[in-house]
């Protein structure tokens, strides 16, 4: 699943509309919208809210590890044109002075810049993007997913010459609209990578849990059984192997025998 994390409602509107996402009610502190493949969470401004929003989203959607996390939001820059879409290649947290480095599997046709994340609005523009969410978002998402499928996309909203009216939802929607196709192309590409690297293992994990749900086992038996089943299904044995009428011990013995372990 692909989780979008945005700070404000105006940053979410176009994505909700284009992807036809439905609202989850009640909101439980954050506004969540979703369909089968995507979710978007409106976290509120700031890195703490963003981090909390990621954590809530994770548990709201079954707590599955290695989903895709995308932060989209507005950011300032010294001289980049308003409406420019930027892929963040380094996130520097101004307060903690810690840096994070997203990983890119290929060269996208989206400009890359680093981003400094502040706890307060910053209008002292530099050649780094400035925002208020990216570090909280990334640190939090990286607890639940590997960093290669976590990214922050920023749209320049202000520079030292001009800024958009942050209260004007329409103008925010316009600059999102302008970049939507590129955003979706990028997200689809990350999804391709996810399918290649994680989908099979996720399916195996779900299959294993379903197969052993009615068995009784101790903690260590459970670990052993899951490991053996993981080896079994990764070794291209297509058939189900667990016999529900037999004990866990017998099932472990049977799998070991088949695998010759």
């Amino acid at each position: 699943m692909i989780h979008f994390i945005v700070a404000t409602s105006s940053e979410s509107k176009l994505i909700i509309k284009k992807l036809k996402l439905k609202k989850i009610k009640p909101s439980s502190g954050f506004d969540f919208f979703y369909n089968d493949n995507f979710s978007i969470t409106i976290t509120g401004l700031g890195k703490i809210n963003s981090a909390l929003g990621v954590a809530h989203t994770f548990f709201k959607f079954k707590g599955l590890s290695n989903n895709i996390w995308i932060n989209i939001g507005l950011a300032g820059h010294e001289k980049e044109k308003i409406g420019t879409l930027v892929l963040v290649d380094k996130i520097y947290d101004y307060e903690t002075q810690r840096s994070i480095y997203p990983f890119f599997i290929k060269n996208y046709k989206i400009k890359k810049l680093n981003c400094t994340c502040y706890s307060k609005p910053n209008f002292n523009y530099t050649n780094s993007l400035s925002d208020m969410e990216s570090s909280g978002f990334f640190f939090s998402a990286n607890k639940y997913s590997t960093k290669e499928i976590i990214h922050s996309l920023k749209i320049v909203s202000d520079n030292k010459f001009e800024k958009i009216d942050f209260n004007d939802t329409k103008s925010i929607e316009r600059i999102f609209e302008k970049n939507f196709d590129q955003i979706l192309y990028f997200v689809n590409d990350i999804e391709d990578l996810w399918e290649r690297k994680f989908q099979k293992q996720n399916k195996i994990k779900i299959k294993i849990e379903k197969e052993i749900e009615n068995l009784k086992y101790s903690f260590s038996e459970g670990m052993q059984l899951r490991n053996l089943l993981k080896i079994y299904y990764n070794s291209n044995y297509p058939k189900k192997i667990i016999e529900q009428n037999k004990s866990t011990k017998d099932n472990i013995y049977k799998i070991k025998k088949i695998l010759k372990l």
């Binding site: 380094k90 810690r98 480095y101 990983f103 590997t146 960093k147 690297k197 195996i204 080896i231």
Partner: protein, 322 residues
């Protein structure tokens, strides 16, 4: 070689070796960092994804330049050390312990080559002792030479240390650097070899056995000392005939009398590395579990059988089990 991103530690950006490396590579993006560890060490990175297209990190090694080898790890010298001017490797061997040890598949190059040589000079100050330094523990020493220029710079200084010996362990057939300099008595180019069927099955992106043997021949003709490293022997007991024929092939193609040393080793890995390996290579988990079980049961027999085969070709004094 093309890279998506080059990371450079701030305090190494003006160094000559760093600038030289930048001149030899193509890259799209350059990012400065305070320490290579900010990029390389964090948890929750996916080694397999990064291996598809690794980035490069240019850094300065600050300490622990030279480390002691594990006890009994030797090719005939009593004092043995290892060092790594680079972390990670361009090859993708399934059994490689680096994927269990490191969180990232990015290449780290420590560009302060002279600091390594200075430490080696210090260690070698007692001229009565013969010491051996192993390069290529955490990388392949030769494979990225066209980018690093490490050996070209390093060997000039190493040649002058008479009581120090250097093992350059590799699977690479890019031997241009060795062709361009005079062979040195205190340098051993050590080739890791396995039967072609194992190369195909386990040593992805590496040169074929035939190409490695050709390189050994070229180096021997030039006058370089060459060592053979049969490490790891994969499932030796079950592949006995394959290995027997393989040894016959190797020793029939090279100048046996000029071989410096031969070592053998079985598949070995600390448990935590092994578990990580299984996790990131789930599709190979069965074979690795079998190899691990074999190790426990058959390791001693395997070593003995293998040594019996090898002493048909070489003097047992040149044979070491690591």
């Amino acid at each position: 070689m093309n890279f998506e991103t080059v990371y450079i530690e701030e305090d190494t950006k003006e160094d000559k070796n760093t600038l030289d490396i930048l001149g030899r590579i193509k890259f799209k993006n350059l990012i400065y960092c305070n320490s290579y560890s900010e990029v390389f060490n964090p948890k929750n990175q996916n080694f397999r994804i990064q291996k598809i297209k690794p980035d490069i990190i240019l850094a300065k090694k600050k300490n622990n330049f030279i480390m002691n080898t594990p006890k009994n790890f030797t090719i005939g010298f009593t004092e043995n050390y290892y060092f790594s001017h680079m972390l990670n490797c361009i090859y993708d061997c399934k059994y490689c312990f680096l994927q269990g040890m490191f969180n990232s598949a990015n290449f780290v190059i420590f560009t302060n080559y002279n600091d390594f040589i200075n430490e080696i000079i210090k260690k070698s100050s007692n001229k009565n002792k013969k010491l051996c330094f192993f390069s290529g523990y955490d990388c392949d020493s030769l494979a990225l030479e066209n980018i690093t220029n490490f050996l070209k710079v390093f060997l000039k200084s190493f040649e002058k240390i008479n009581n120090a010996y250097l093992e350059v362990r590799t699977k690479s057939t890019k031997i241009d650097v060795l062709k361009s300099i005079k062979p040195m008595k205190n340098v051993i180019i050590a080739y890791s070899l396995n039967p072609e069927i194992i190369v195909k099955g386990f040593e992805q992106k590496t040169p074929t056995l035939k190409k490695r043997i050709n390189s050994i021949n070229s180096l021997q003709k030039l006058g370089w000392q060459v060592g053979l490293r049969f490490d790891p022997l994969i499932n030796y007991s079950k592949n006995k005939q394959i290995y027997k024929k393989f040894f016959e092939l190797v020793f029939s193609k090279i100048q046996v009398e000029k071989i410096h040393s031969v070592t053998t080793g079985h598949f070995r890995m600390p448990n935590n590395f092994f578990n990580k390996l299984i996790n990131i290579r789930p599709e190979d988990s069965l074979i690795f579990n079998k190899l691990k079980n074999d190790r426990l049961l058959e390791c001693q027999t395997q070593r003995k059988e293998c040594e019996e085969e090898l002493i048909k070709f070489i003097d047992y004094k040149k044979l070491f089990a690591n």
